[in-house]
Protein backbone atom coordinates (compact mmCIF):
# COMPACT_ATOMS: atom_id res chain seq x y z
CA UNK A 1 0.00 0.00 0.00
CA UNK A 2 2.73 2.36 0.95
CA UNK A 3 4.52 1.71 -2.30
CA UNK A 4 1.70 3.52 -4.03
CA UNK A 5 2.62 6.62 -2.15
CA UNK A 6 4.76 9.22 -3.83
CA UNK A 7 6.13 12.52 -2.77
CA UNK A 8 5.02 15.58 -4.52
CA UNK A 9 8.05 17.23 -5.97
CA UNK A 10 7.74 20.67 -4.57
CA UNK A 11 9.41 22.31 -7.49
CA UNK A 12 6.98 20.96 -10.04
CA UNK A 13 4.12 22.80 -8.40
CA UNK A 14 5.33 26.06 -9.82
CA UNK A 15 4.75 25.45 -13.49
CA UNK A 16 2.23 28.26 -13.91
CA UNK A 17 4.86 30.89 -13.01
CA UNK A 18 4.62 33.50 -15.71
CA UNK A 19 7.95 35.17 -15.03
CA UNK A 20 11.31 34.33 -13.61
CA UNK A 21 12.67 35.88 -10.50
CA UNK A 22 16.33 35.94 -9.83
CA UNK A 23 17.07 35.60 -6.19
CA UNK A 24 18.65 38.62 -4.65
CA UNK A 25 17.42 40.97 -7.32
CA UNK A 26 15.13 43.47 -5.65
CA UNK A 27 11.89 44.08 -7.40
CA UNK A 28 10.01 47.28 -7.33
CA UNK A 29 6.41 46.30 -7.87
CA UNK A 30 4.03 43.54 -7.00
CA UNK A 31 3.67 40.89 -9.65
CA UNK A 32 0.41 41.52 -11.42
CA UNK A 33 -0.80 37.96 -11.04
CA UNK A 34 -0.66 38.37 -7.30
CA UNK A 35 -3.32 41.00 -7.21
CA UNK A 36 -6.57 39.70 -5.87
CA UNK A 37 -9.70 41.81 -6.16
CA UNK A 38 -11.23 42.16 -2.69
CA UNK A 39 -14.49 40.57 -3.75
CA UNK A 40 -12.65 37.44 -4.75
CA UNK A 41 -10.65 37.30 -1.57
CA UNK A 42 -13.17 35.34 0.40
CA UNK A 43 -12.90 32.51 -2.09
CA UNK A 44 -9.12 32.74 -2.16
CA UNK A 45 -8.92 32.67 1.61
CA UNK A 46 -10.70 29.37 1.78
CA UNK A 47 -7.86 27.98 -0.26
CA UNK A 48 -5.38 28.79 2.48
CA UNK A 49 -5.22 26.94 5.73
CA UNK A 50 -3.59 29.80 7.59
CA UNK A 51 -0.57 32.07 7.61
CA UNK A 52 1.95 29.27 7.12
CA UNK A 53 0.03 28.00 4.15
CA UNK A 54 -0.08 31.46 2.60
CA UNK A 55 3.63 31.97 3.18
CA UNK A 56 4.40 28.64 1.58
CA UNK A 57 2.33 29.63 -1.39
CA UNK A 58 4.18 32.92 -1.80
CA UNK A 59 7.55 31.22 -1.52
CA UNK A 60 6.68 28.43 -3.95
CA UNK A 61 5.13 30.86 -6.36
CA UNK A 62 8.48 32.51 -6.78
CA UNK A 63 10.36 29.27 -6.94
CA UNK A 64 12.39 30.24 -3.93
CA UNK A 65 14.30 27.92 -1.73
CA UNK A 66 12.46 27.66 1.54
CA UNK A 67 15.81 27.67 3.33
CA UNK A 68 16.73 31.04 1.96
CA UNK A 69 13.68 33.21 2.15
CA UNK A 70 14.15 36.81 1.06
CA UNK A 71 12.31 38.19 4.03
CA UNK A 72 11.77 41.65 2.62
CA UNK A 73 9.97 40.59 -0.54
CA UNK A 74 7.94 37.95 1.15
CA UNK A 75 6.94 40.34 3.91
CA UNK A 76 5.79 42.91 1.40
CA UNK A 77 3.66 40.44 -0.49
CA UNK A 78 2.34 38.94 2.67
CA UNK A 79 1.29 42.31 4.05
CA UNK A 80 -0.37 43.15 0.78
CA UNK A 81 -2.45 40.05 1.20
CA UNK A 82 -3.52 40.70 4.72
CA UNK A 83 -4.38 44.29 3.96
CA UNK A 84 -7.04 42.94 1.68
CA UNK A 85 -8.00 40.34 4.19
CA UNK A 86 -8.36 42.87 6.95
CA UNK A 87 -11.17 44.61 5.13
CA UNK A 88 -13.18 41.46 5.13
CA UNK A 89 -12.68 39.48 8.25
CA UNK A 90 -10.89 41.00 11.17
CA UNK A 91 -11.01 37.87 13.28
CA UNK A 92 -9.48 35.73 10.60
CA UNK A 93 -6.97 38.47 9.88
CA UNK A 94 -5.71 38.24 13.44
CA UNK A 95 -3.91 34.96 12.89
CA UNK A 96 -2.34 36.36 9.77
CA UNK A 97 -1.35 39.56 11.53
CA UNK A 98 0.65 37.62 14.10
CA UNK A 99 2.65 36.17 11.25
CA UNK A 100 3.12 39.61 9.74
CA UNK A 101 4.52 40.79 13.04
CA UNK A 102 6.88 37.84 13.09
CA UNK A 103 8.05 38.62 9.56
CA UNK A 104 8.58 42.23 10.47
CA UNK A 105 10.57 41.21 13.49
CA UNK A 106 12.80 38.92 11.44
CA UNK A 107 13.25 41.68 8.91
CA UNK A 108 14.32 44.18 11.54
CA UNK A 109 16.67 41.72 13.16
CA UNK A 110 18.31 41.07 9.83
CA UNK A 111 18.91 44.74 9.33
CA UNK A 112 20.64 45.10 12.66
CA UNK A 113 24.27 44.13 13.08
CA UNK A 114 24.32 40.50 14.10
CA UNK A 115 25.12 40.11 17.78
CA UNK A 116 27.30 37.15 18.50
CA UNK A 117 25.73 34.78 20.98
CA UNK A 118 27.59 33.57 24.03
CA UNK A 119 29.12 30.67 22.17
CA UNK A 120 30.25 33.07 19.51
CA UNK A 121 27.78 31.64 16.99
CA UNK A 122 25.39 33.71 14.98
CA UNK A 123 21.68 33.11 14.93
CA UNK A 124 19.85 33.44 11.68
CA UNK A 125 16.54 35.03 12.67
CA UNK A 126 14.87 33.12 9.86
CA UNK A 127 15.70 29.75 11.33
CA UNK A 128 12.59 29.38 13.45
CA UNK A 129 10.35 30.42 10.59
CA UNK A 130 12.05 27.99 8.23
CA UNK A 131 11.60 25.22 10.75
CA UNK A 132 7.91 25.95 11.12
CA UNK A 133 7.37 26.21 7.39
CA UNK A 134 9.09 22.90 6.77
CA UNK A 135 7.22 21.26 9.58
CA UNK A 136 3.91 22.52 8.28
CA UNK A 137 4.71 21.52 4.75
CA UNK A 138 5.39 17.92 5.59
CA UNK A 139 2.02 17.56 7.26
CA UNK A 140 0.35 19.43 4.46
CA UNK A 141 1.67 16.81 2.08
CA UNK A 142 0.87 14.01 4.54
CA UNK A 143 -2.73 15.23 4.53
CA UNK A 144 -2.82 14.91 0.74
CA UNK A 145 -1.33 11.43 1.00
CA UNK A 146 -3.97 10.35 3.48
CA UNK A 147 -6.60 11.77 1.17
CA UNK A 148 -5.35 9.37 -1.49
CA UNK A 149 -5.57 6.29 0.70
CA UNK A 150 -8.31 3.85 -0.29
CA UNK A 151 -11.41 5.02 1.48
CA UNK A 152 -14.73 3.37 2.18
CA UNK A 153 -17.53 4.27 -0.24
CA UNK A 154 -15.11 6.23 -2.43
CA UNK A 155 -12.78 3.36 -3.34
CA UNK A 156 -14.31 0.25 -1.82
CA UNK A 157 -17.38 -0.93 0.06
CA UNK A 158 -17.33 -3.42 2.92
CA UNK A 159 -19.56 -6.28 1.87
CA UNK A 160 -22.19 -8.16 3.80
CA UNK A 161 -24.65 -10.92 3.10
CA UNK A 162 -28.07 -11.46 4.57
CA UNK A 163 -28.30 -13.85 7.50
CA UNK A 164 -31.62 -15.29 8.47
CA UNK A 165 -32.71 -14.52 12.00
CA UNK A 166 -29.45 -12.80 12.90
CA UNK A 167 -31.00 -10.67 15.61
CA UNK A 168 -31.74 -13.60 17.86
CA UNK A 169 -28.07 -14.49 18.18
CA UNK A 170 -26.97 -11.15 19.49
CA UNK A 171 -27.32 -10.85 23.20
CA UNK A 172 -27.08 -7.29 24.47
CA UNK A 173 -24.14 -6.57 26.76
CA UNK A 174 -24.65 -6.74 30.47
CA UNK A 175 -24.32 -3.46 32.26
CA UNK A 176 -23.46 -2.83 35.85
CA UNK A 177 -25.04 0.16 37.56
CA UNK A 178 -21.57 1.01 38.84
CA UNK A 179 -20.41 1.51 35.25
CA UNK A 180 -23.19 4.00 34.66
CA UNK A 181 -22.44 5.83 37.87
CA UNK A 182 -18.74 6.00 37.09
CA UNK A 183 -19.56 7.29 33.61
CA UNK A 184 -21.81 9.92 35.11
CA UNK A 185 -19.19 10.91 37.63
CA UNK A 186 -16.66 11.31 34.88
CA UNK A 187 -18.89 13.32 32.60
CA UNK A 188 -19.73 15.61 35.49
CA UNK A 189 -16.09 16.08 36.31
CA UNK A 190 -15.41 16.86 32.68
CA UNK A 191 -18.20 19.33 32.35
CA UNK A 192 -17.04 20.87 35.62
CA UNK A 193 -20.56 21.53 36.70
CA UNK A 194 -20.68 24.00 39.52
CA UNK A 195 -24.24 23.11 40.32
CA UNK A 196 -23.24 20.06 42.28
CA UNK A 197 -26.03 20.48 44.77
CA UNK A 198 -28.64 20.36 42.06
CA UNK A 199 -28.58 16.64 41.64
CA UNK A 200 -29.76 15.36 44.93
CA UNK A 201 -32.42 13.07 46.08
CA UNK A 202 -35.18 15.67 45.82
CA UNK A 203 -34.11 16.84 42.42
CA UNK A 204 -34.23 13.31 41.14
CA UNK A 205 -37.73 12.81 42.35
CA UNK A 206 -38.55 16.06 40.57
CA UNK A 207 -37.00 14.66 37.38
CA UNK A 208 -39.02 11.51 37.89
CA UNK A 209 -42.17 13.56 38.30
CA UNK A 210 -41.35 15.65 35.24
CA UNK A 211 -41.30 12.50 33.14
CA UNK A 212 -44.60 11.39 34.64
CA UNK A 213 -46.18 14.77 34.03
CA UNK A 214 -45.18 14.76 30.38
CA UNK A 215 -46.66 11.29 30.11
CA UNK A 216 -49.94 12.37 31.68
CA UNK A 217 -50.16 15.52 29.60
CA UNK A 218 -49.65 13.70 26.31
CA UNK A 219 -53.25 12.44 26.40
CA UNK A 220 -55.32 15.61 26.43
CA UNK A 221 -54.89 19.17 25.44
CA UNK A 222 -55.50 21.10 28.66
CA UNK A 223 -55.37 19.82 32.22
CA UNK A 224 -56.55 21.72 35.23
CA UNK A 225 -53.71 22.63 37.50
CA UNK A 226 -55.20 20.75 40.46
CA UNK A 227 -55.65 17.52 38.55
CA UNK A 228 -51.89 17.18 38.32
CA UNK A 229 -51.59 16.75 42.07
CA UNK A 230 -52.27 13.52 43.87
CA UNK A 231 -53.19 14.18 47.52
CA UNK A 232 -52.24 10.63 48.43
CA UNK A 233 -48.62 11.52 47.81
CA UNK A 234 -48.69 13.77 50.85
CA UNK A 235 -47.25 17.22 51.34
CA UNK A 236 -43.86 16.18 50.02
CA UNK A 237 -45.40 14.73 46.85
CA UNK A 238 -47.32 17.91 46.16
CA UNK A 239 -44.20 20.02 46.59
CA UNK A 240 -42.30 17.71 44.22
CA UNK A 241 -45.08 17.94 41.63
CA UNK A 242 -45.12 21.70 41.94
CA UNK A 243 -41.35 21.88 41.49
CA UNK A 244 -41.65 19.60 38.47
CA UNK A 245 -44.24 21.92 36.92
CA UNK A 246 -41.96 24.91 37.52
CA UNK A 247 -39.00 23.05 36.08
CA UNK A 248 -40.96 22.14 32.94
CA UNK A 249 -42.21 25.71 32.61
CA UNK A 250 -38.64 26.89 32.83
CA UNK A 251 -37.55 24.61 30.04
CA UNK A 252 -40.57 25.75 28.06
CA UNK A 253 -42.24 22.45 27.53
CA UNK A 254 -45.37 23.48 29.43
CA UNK A 255 -47.86 26.23 28.80
CA UNK A 256 -49.84 27.68 31.68
CA UNK A 257 -53.07 29.58 31.15
CA UNK A 258 -55.34 31.52 33.50
CA UNK A 259 -58.19 33.42 31.92
CA UNK A 260 -59.21 35.57 34.89
CA UNK A 261 -57.78 36.49 38.26
CA UNK A 262 -58.30 33.65 40.74
CA UNK A 263 -59.75 31.66 37.82
CA UNK A 264 -59.04 28.11 36.89
CA UNK A 265 -55.42 27.45 35.89
CA UNK A 266 -54.86 25.18 32.93
CA UNK A 267 -51.71 23.39 31.97
CA UNK A 268 -50.85 22.17 28.51
CA UNK A 269 -47.82 20.29 27.24
CA UNK A 270 -45.91 22.08 24.54
CA UNK A 271 -44.02 18.93 23.75
CA UNK A 272 -44.89 17.86 20.26
CA UNK A 273 -46.17 14.40 19.66
CA UNK A 274 -45.79 12.41 16.53
CA UNK A 275 -46.17 8.85 15.37
CA UNK A 276 -42.53 8.03 15.96
CA UNK A 277 -42.72 7.93 19.70
CA UNK A 278 -45.38 5.25 19.64
CA UNK A 279 -42.55 2.90 18.85
CA UNK A 280 -40.65 4.26 21.73
CA UNK A 281 -43.37 3.43 24.19
CA UNK A 282 -42.25 0.82 26.64
CA UNK A 283 -43.99 -2.48 26.22
Amino acid sequence: MSSKHKFKNKDTVQTEMPFAIVEGKPYTQMPTDLYIPPEALEVILEAFEGPLDLLLYLIRRQNLNILDIPITEITNQYIEYINLLDELDFELAAEYLVMAAMLAEIKSRMLLPKPASEEGEEDDPRAELVRRLQEYERFKSAALDIDEMPREYRDYVVTSAYVDNKQSYIAPPEVDMRDIIMAFKEVLARADLKISHEIERETLSVRDKMTHLLDTLRDKKFFTFESLFDPSEGKQGIVVTFLAVLELLKSQVLDIVQNETYGQIYIKSLAIEDEVDDNAQPA
Partner: protein, 205 residues
Protein backbone atom coordinates in the same frame (compact mmCIF):
# COMPACT_ATOMS: atom_id res chain seq x y z
CA UNK B 1 -18.52 -5.93 -21.99
CA UNK B 2 -17.58 -9.43 -21.03
CA UNK B 3 -20.11 -11.51 -19.15
CA UNK B 4 -17.48 -12.30 -16.52
CA UNK B 5 -17.05 -8.61 -15.77
CA UNK B 6 -20.82 -8.12 -15.54
CA UNK B 7 -21.03 -11.06 -13.16
CA UNK B 8 -18.29 -9.60 -10.97
CA UNK B 9 -19.94 -6.23 -10.81
CA UNK B 10 -23.31 -7.74 -9.92
CA UNK B 11 -21.73 -9.89 -7.21
CA UNK B 12 -19.93 -6.88 -5.73
CA UNK B 13 -23.04 -4.72 -5.99
CA UNK B 14 -25.31 -7.23 -4.26
CA UNK B 15 -22.82 -7.61 -1.43
CA UNK B 16 -22.20 -3.87 -1.17
CA UNK B 17 -25.87 -2.85 -1.17
CA UNK B 18 -26.70 -4.69 2.05
CA UNK B 19 -30.33 -4.98 0.89
CA UNK B 20 -32.17 -6.69 -1.97
CA UNK B 21 -31.46 -5.11 -5.36
CA UNK B 22 -33.90 -5.11 -8.26
CA UNK B 23 -32.90 -5.93 -11.83
CA UNK B 24 -33.80 -2.36 -12.73
CA UNK B 25 -31.36 -0.99 -10.17
CA UNK B 26 -28.67 -3.40 -11.35
CA UNK B 27 -29.29 -2.26 -14.89
CA UNK B 28 -28.78 1.36 -13.83
CA UNK B 29 -25.18 0.55 -12.87
CA UNK B 30 -24.43 -0.14 -16.52
CA UNK B 31 -25.89 2.98 -18.15
CA UNK B 32 -22.67 3.65 -20.00
CA UNK B 33 -22.45 0.09 -21.31
CA UNK B 34 -26.07 0.10 -22.45
CA UNK B 35 -26.81 -3.40 -21.25
CA UNK B 36 -30.23 -4.96 -21.61
CA UNK B 37 -32.50 -6.72 -19.14
CA UNK B 38 -31.42 -9.91 -20.82
CA UNK B 39 -27.73 -9.34 -20.15
CA UNK B 40 -28.47 -8.93 -16.46
CA UNK B 41 -30.70 -11.98 -16.34
CA UNK B 42 -28.03 -14.05 -18.04
CA UNK B 43 -25.31 -12.83 -15.64
CA UNK B 44 -27.51 -13.52 -12.63
CA UNK B 45 -28.13 -17.04 -13.83
CA UNK B 46 -24.43 -17.75 -14.30
CA UNK B 47 -23.59 -16.10 -10.98
CA UNK B 48 -26.14 -18.30 -9.26
CA UNK B 49 -24.42 -21.36 -10.69
CA UNK B 50 -21.04 -20.12 -9.50
CA UNK B 51 -22.33 -20.08 -5.95
CA UNK B 52 -23.26 -23.78 -5.95
CA UNK B 53 -20.16 -25.00 -4.15
CA UNK B 54 -19.74 -21.91 -1.98
CA UNK B 55 -20.77 -20.45 1.34
CA UNK B 56 -23.39 -18.03 0.04
CA UNK B 57 -26.30 -18.30 -2.35
CA UNK B 58 -28.30 -16.03 -4.59
CA UNK B 59 -32.02 -15.80 -3.84
CA UNK B 60 -34.82 -13.71 -5.24
CA UNK B 61 -37.10 -12.10 -2.69
CA UNK B 62 -39.96 -9.66 -3.04
CA UNK B 63 -37.68 -6.61 -3.26
CA UNK B 64 -35.14 -8.07 -5.66
CA UNK B 65 -32.07 -10.25 -5.51
CA UNK B 66 -29.88 -10.74 -2.52
CA UNK B 67 -26.97 -12.90 -1.43
CA UNK B 68 -27.35 -14.76 1.81
CA UNK B 69 -25.38 -17.27 3.80
CA UNK B 70 -26.38 -20.88 3.22
CA UNK B 71 -28.75 -22.27 5.84
CA UNK B 72 -26.65 -25.40 6.10
CA UNK B 73 -23.79 -23.31 7.50
CA UNK B 74 -25.97 -21.78 10.21
CA UNK B 75 -24.47 -23.91 13.04
CA UNK B 76 -21.12 -22.19 12.43
CA UNK B 77 -22.38 -18.76 11.49
CA UNK B 78 -24.52 -18.44 14.59
CA UNK B 79 -21.38 -18.88 16.70
CA UNK B 80 -20.16 -15.54 15.40
CA UNK B 81 -22.37 -13.80 17.91
CA UNK B 82 -22.14 -16.34 20.65
CA UNK B 83 -19.02 -15.05 22.26
CA UNK B 84 -19.43 -12.76 25.16
CA UNK B 85 -21.32 -9.70 24.05
CA UNK B 86 -19.19 -6.63 23.64
CA UNK B 87 -19.18 -4.06 26.37
CA UNK B 88 -20.90 -0.79 25.86
CA UNK B 89 -18.69 2.17 25.10
CA UNK B 90 -18.03 4.93 27.59
CA UNK B 91 -19.97 7.27 25.30
CA UNK B 92 -23.04 5.08 25.59
CA UNK B 93 -22.75 4.79 29.37
CA UNK B 94 -22.36 8.53 29.73
CA UNK B 95 -25.38 9.06 27.53
CA UNK B 96 -27.64 6.72 29.49
CA UNK B 97 -26.36 8.22 32.74
CA UNK B 98 -27.20 11.73 31.57
CA UNK B 99 -30.62 10.64 30.36
CA UNK B 100 -31.33 8.95 33.69
CA UNK B 101 -30.26 11.90 35.80
CA UNK B 102 -31.36 14.76 33.59
CA UNK B 103 -34.58 13.57 31.98
CA UNK B 104 -36.39 14.90 30.07
CA UNK B 105 -33.31 15.79 28.09
CA UNK B 106 -32.58 16.42 24.41
CA UNK B 107 -29.67 15.11 22.43
CA UNK B 108 -28.30 18.63 22.18
CA UNK B 109 -28.31 19.00 25.96
CA UNK B 110 -26.45 15.71 26.32
CA UNK B 111 -23.92 16.93 23.78
CA UNK B 112 -23.50 20.18 25.69
CA UNK B 113 -22.55 18.36 28.86
CA UNK B 114 -20.44 15.69 27.19
CA UNK B 115 -18.75 18.19 24.91
CA UNK B 116 -18.94 15.82 21.95
CA UNK B 117 -21.62 14.70 19.57
CA UNK B 118 -23.88 11.81 20.56
CA UNK B 119 -24.00 9.36 17.69
CA UNK B 120 -27.31 8.14 16.32
CA UNK B 121 -26.00 4.64 16.88
CA UNK B 122 -25.98 5.18 20.63
CA UNK B 123 -29.52 6.52 20.70
CA UNK B 124 -30.69 3.65 18.51
CA UNK B 125 -28.97 1.08 20.71
CA UNK B 126 -30.59 2.49 23.84
CA UNK B 127 -33.95 2.63 22.06
CA UNK B 128 -33.59 -0.95 20.81
CA UNK B 129 -32.83 -2.06 24.30
CA UNK B 130 -35.94 -0.20 25.45
CA UNK B 131 -34.01 1.64 28.11
CA UNK B 132 -34.98 5.07 26.79
CA UNK B 133 -37.99 6.49 25.04
CA UNK B 134 -39.08 9.74 23.48
CA UNK B 135 -41.22 11.70 25.92
CA UNK B 136 -42.15 14.31 23.37
CA UNK B 137 -40.58 16.99 21.25
CA UNK B 138 -39.40 20.33 22.51
CA UNK B 139 -41.06 23.22 20.75
CA UNK B 140 -37.89 24.95 19.64
CA UNK B 141 -36.30 25.08 16.18
CA UNK B 142 -35.43 21.58 15.03
CA UNK B 143 -38.06 20.10 17.35
CA UNK B 144 -35.58 17.95 19.25
CA UNK B 145 -36.83 14.81 20.95
CA UNK B 146 -36.76 14.74 24.73
CA UNK B 147 -35.56 11.43 26.11
CA UNK B 148 -36.37 9.73 29.36
CA UNK B 149 -35.76 6.31 30.84
CA UNK B 150 -38.28 3.46 30.77
CA UNK B 151 -39.64 1.02 33.26
CA UNK B 152 -37.44 -1.62 31.60
CA UNK B 153 -34.42 0.45 32.54
CA UNK B 154 -35.50 0.55 36.19
CA UNK B 155 -36.31 -3.16 36.14
CA UNK B 156 -32.93 -4.09 34.72
CA UNK B 157 -31.17 -2.32 37.55
CA UNK B 158 -33.59 -3.53 40.14
CA UNK B 159 -34.88 -0.07 40.93
CA UNK B 160 -38.42 0.92 41.81
CA UNK B 161 -38.06 4.51 40.73
CA UNK B 162 -35.44 6.99 39.69
CA UNK B 163 -35.13 7.91 43.33
CA UNK B 164 -33.20 4.70 43.83
CA UNK B 165 -30.39 6.16 41.75
CA UNK B 166 -27.47 7.22 43.92
CA UNK B 167 -27.37 10.92 44.66
CA UNK B 168 -24.47 13.08 43.64
CA UNK B 169 -23.22 13.18 47.21
CA UNK B 170 -23.05 9.40 47.17
CA UNK B 171 -21.37 9.40 43.81
CA UNK B 172 -18.71 11.66 45.21
CA UNK B 173 -18.02 9.12 47.90
CA UNK B 174 -17.91 6.32 45.43
CA UNK B 175 -14.17 5.92 45.68
CA UNK B 176 -14.44 5.21 49.37
CA UNK B 177 -17.34 2.89 48.81
CA UNK B 178 -15.98 1.07 45.81
CA UNK B 179 -12.99 -0.70 47.40
CA UNK B 180 -15.33 -2.38 49.87
CA UNK B 181 -17.36 -3.75 47.05
CA UNK B 182 -16.70 -7.05 45.43
CA UNK B 183 -15.89 -5.87 41.96
CA UNK B 184 -15.83 -9.37 40.56
CA UNK B 185 -18.56 -10.73 38.32
CA UNK B 186 -21.81 -9.05 39.12
CA UNK B 187 -24.40 -11.10 40.86
CA UNK B 188 -27.72 -10.10 42.30
CA UNK B 189 -26.19 -10.29 45.74
CA UNK B 190 -23.46 -7.85 44.88
CA UNK B 191 -25.92 -5.58 43.28
CA UNK B 192 -28.09 -5.62 46.37
CA UNK B 193 -25.16 -5.04 48.65
CA UNK B 194 -24.24 -2.13 46.49
CA UNK B 195 -27.72 -0.71 46.66
CA UNK B 196 -27.78 -1.15 50.40
CA UNK B 197 -24.53 0.68 50.75
CA UNK B 198 -26.20 3.64 49.20
CA UNK B 199 -29.27 3.24 51.29
CA UNK B 200 -27.26 3.38 54.50
CA UNK B 201 -25.32 6.29 53.33
CA UNK B 202 -28.49 8.07 52.58
CA UNK B 203 -29.96 7.61 55.98
CA UNK B 204 -26.95 9.11 57.66
CA UNK B 205 -27.53 12.40 55.95
Amino acid sequence: MEIKQIKNIIEAALLAAGEPVTVKRLLSLFVEQELTHNDIAKAIELLSEDFQGRGIELVEVANGFRLQTKTILQPWISKLWEEKPKKYTRALLETIALIAYRQPVTRGEIEDVRGVAVSSYIIRTLMDREWIRVLGYRDVPGKPAMFGTTKEFLDYFNMKSLQDLPTLAEIKDIETIMPELDLGPKSDENEKAFQNQFKNNNEEE
